[in-house]
Amino acid sequence: MRQFWGTQPVPQLGEESPTADGYIEPSKPSEEVRQEPYPLPKDFGWTTVDVNDPVQLREVYELLSGHYVEDDVASFRFQYSAHFLHWALQPPGYHKEWHIGVRVASNNKLVAFISGVPMTVRVRDNTFKASEVNFLCVHKKLRSKRLAPVLIKEITRQCHLKGIFQALYTAGLLLPTPISTCRYYHRMINVKKLVEVNFTSVPSSMTLARLIRLNKLPDTPKLLAHGLREMEDRDVPQVTALYNRYMDRFGTAHIMDEEEIRHSLLSGRGEGPSTPDSWKIPREKQVVWTYVVENPETHRITDYFSFFSLPSTVMTTDKHNLLNAAYVFYYATDVALLDGAEEDGRLKKRLEEVLGDCLIIANCCQFDVVNALTLMDNVQFLSELRFHTGDGMLNYYLYNWRTAPLAGVNPVGGVPAGKGVGVVML
């Protein structure tokens, strides 16, 4: 595989860190972009997957559920829901040509997939259009066919055809060469189930009963009496403004306009009305949960937070089928924008309140665990809110762009841990 990456415009492992940021190879004029798809091994053919067709969406869902990412000892495998994929693959401006599949010619079975979605990314001082590449999956029985490099070359070609020459992607594996590496942290909610599925174990210095009690959460969010509610469409302008100001504080960020914020934070909220109790009751087809804090007097949105649902199939016990994990998504508080709030601890305190409520709501919504990475400001609240170290790492990569390492699990230069990374991958 390293032979493949040696041919790609990515910094090679062991290269010295660059002194200036920039592309590795220049963008090509459209007439120089290869027009024909890359050849596949015989018996296979390319397909553009239409995720608005329920049959094809189901095929992608089934491929990923059976063959996508597992943990190191094959106890859990991601099970992205069909609603989630439908949402994640179609942000504003998406290209259906970037939803690429491979089928077996003889029986038309979908056996491999890769996708890209358009994004505007800022890396340090440079802002550019890129493709966020995700969901690369090859059927387990075909892992020796070397399909993955062809899929990567084909998604690259399709991006080039749209005039996009940079990409952002993540992987648990070490490839050439990460711009940052983050570690997963886990906040136990349903402790008993997490023990039963071997997600965690009770330390011998403790009893299960005590572990459960230590992780018990209040029934009601603390900010509910101070303006906490579900985000509504009317909040989009204020949330977008707060989002972009807040994210400006990190080394990298996904720049979003109002339409993109509406998509990312609202369009996955499922079907059903907003009622006084709906903050704690998951809706049909809901994949993302977003809450705002509205100042009752000024009606300004002072904070928001969101999380998304990404269950995993439990493979090593019959007691449970699914581990329901919530992943901390984007959040912000205007406290971060006050002078000195970071240094004197006001930001840390506010984040603990806001993300503490995130845990309480995830508990009400029947999640088993809340996961977060060492990115953005997460490191400031992880330990206070009882997140514990995970064994998984996530590497961040840029295709055809050089930049020096960014602070993730470790601080880099004078930048504290986490603050180099402001992009949360789905």
Partner: protein, 221 residues
């Protein structure tokens, strides 16, 4: 993070082994050595997680193998690679040999055979990664407690038979008796065995004054 870039020769050997039928006949010792070398060469010199508990035997053996590779080869990645390749040769790999034809080895099987990890969409790449909680290597400091936690009544019985002087009512350094721990973990056979061997159900937990019972519904919450 490993700064060593494995050679194409290593890649070829790893690709061969990821799919070689000869592996099924190889001892676990060799498989573990291959696993340790592979992780050392492709991920990092030593494991980046804490050592799994003794009850996760597979995970612990793998961790140990990886750690051993790190300790053995230190900064000498070239030697580790040479060792990996030598084993691969013994198992039928040669420079000019393409990856073994698929189908000999069940591709759904465990990833620890020196091949690519299944993490990351085809052992390759993109996507987020699945993580579980790192297990700390805390010890109870007591074989009796460890056995009560593990919940294997047969092994506990063997232990008690072999050590007739062990007092089943001893508290471990965390203040728990074997009966406390077996009740908490819901191991009914172990509870029964301990009671039969004179365990005293009236002993209270000093640091943790709660009632012990094995009803899952009341344990919850």
């Amino acid at each position: 993070m490993s700064t060593h870039t494995p050679s194409p020769t290593f890649e070829s050997a790893a690709a061969y082994l990821s799919n070689a039928s000869s592996l099924s006949a190889v001892s676990n010792t060799i498989k573990l050595e291959l696993y340790g070398l592979y992780k050392y060469l492709t991920v990092s010199h030593t494991p980046n997680t804490s050592r799994p508990s003794i009850f996760d035997m597979t995970g612990r053996a793998k961790w140990d193998a990886w750690n051993t590779a790190g300790k053995t080869y230190g900064g000498k990645a070239g030697e580790a690679e040479a060792r990996y390749i030598a084993i691969a040769r013994d198992l039928g790999w040669s420079e000019d040999k393409a990856p073994a034809p698929q189908g000999h080895l069940d591709l759904d099987s465990d990833d620890g055979e020196g091949g690519e990890s299944s993490r990351g969409g085809g052992g390759f790449g993109f996507g987020t990664s699945v993580s579980t909680m790192s297990t700390s290597e805390e010890k109870s400091g007591s074989a009796l407690s460890d056995l009560a936690i593990a919940g294997n009544a047969h092994e506990l019985q063997l232990f008690l038979d072999a050590n007739p002087n062990v007092d089943v009512n001893t508290r471990d350094e965390n203040g728990y008796t074997a009966l406390h721990l077996a009740c908490d973990r819901g191991h009914i056979d172990v509870v029964r065995l301990l009671l039969g061997r004179g365990a005293d159900p009236s002993i209270k937990v000093t640091s943790d004054p709660i009632t012990y019972h094995t009803d899952p519904d009341t344990l919850q919450g």
